[in-house]
């Protein structure tokens, strides 16, 4: 046994503790979560932002989207169901729950957010909040 605890272990433990603290939800100042699923692509369309994520096999009712300020939280469960008495030959699809939050560089108007889920693709249309838009000033 080592006299001194491993610095790397200590750091990892601290980081995990902080992550679970941050994602526990009892300290709810805003939506936050530590997961990395689902992977998403972010696009800019004029002033607005669009987030697109691949969520194959996830029903609309199993998806939860929250917006606060400039943070988007995406949570849900993905289930893979096999019929009873089925013999599995190959299993590549994963099932489980996910909880993820992303922070945008701009503030989002929560009332104007639209979410669409079609063919296993989730699209979030995030309009930039009016008060966050830059003002152009006419040069006299």
């Amino acid at each position: 046994m080592a006299l001194f605890p491993d610095a790397f272990d200590a750091l990892l433990g601290l980081q995990q503790a902080m992550d679970s603290f941050r994602s526990s939800g009892w300290l709810t100042s805003g939506p936050s979560a530590g997961g990395a699923y689902p992977p998403m692509n972010m696009f800019r369309k004029g002033d607005d932002f669009v987030i697109i994520a691949e969520v194959p096999g996830i029903k609309k009712s199993d998806l939860e989207v929250q917006v606060k300020g400039n943070t988007i939280r995406l949570a849900g469960t993905k289930s893979v169901i096999y019929p009873e008495k089925a013999g599995l030959h190959r299993r590549e699809r994963l099932a489980g729950r996910f909880d993820r939050a992303v922070t945008l560089p701009v503030e989002v108007d929560p009332e104007g957010v639209k979410a669409e889920c079609r063919d296993g693709i989730l699209a979030l249309f995030l309009p930039r909040a009016e008060r966050d838009k830059p003002k152009s000033i006419q040069v006299a």
Partner: protein, 132 residues
């Protein structure tokens, strides 16, 4: 059922093929589950973003080939600022045994998940033998 696990992110597997493609764009291998029931073999594939009209399932020389095309026109006018995954068509093929009734193969697409049901041929189904 076991408690739900946290989902992890996996990189998409890109298709490595001997033949070259004539259509532009990347091709990926969809994740697939294969299971067998008493009367059929089921292949379930994840093909997010593939519409019913852009899906092609073909059977030739005992090879079942699934081809799902992505409609890239939806991404027009959008400027990517942050990306975590690549977008591409999905292709995968399977060699079928003769035990499959190739006439009655059916396909269903829900939420980006394609389910192919391959019914077993009559002679391949289990038979209960009564003891006289």
């Amino acid at each position: 059922m076991a408690p739900a696990q946290e989902l992890t992110v996996r990189d998409k597997k890109e298709l490595v093929s001997k033949e070259e493609k004539t259509v532009p764009g990347r091709h990926y291998i969809p994740y697939a589950d294969i299971y067998e029931t008493n009367d059929a073999l089921c292949v379930v594939m994840e093909m997010p973003g593939v519409e019913r009209t852009n899906l092609n399932v073909a059977l030739e020389n005992d090879v079942l080939r699934v081809d799902g095309q992505i409609d890239f026109s939806k991404y027009e006018g959008m400027e990517p600022v942050y990306t975590e995954y690549n977008i591409g068509h999905f292709t995968r093929s399977f060699v079928l045994s003769s035990k499959i009734d190739q006439e009655r193969i059916s396909a269903q697409l829900d939420d980006g998940v394609l389910t192919l049901t391959l019914p077993k041929a009559q002679e391949a189904q289990p038979r209960r033998i009564s003891i006289g």
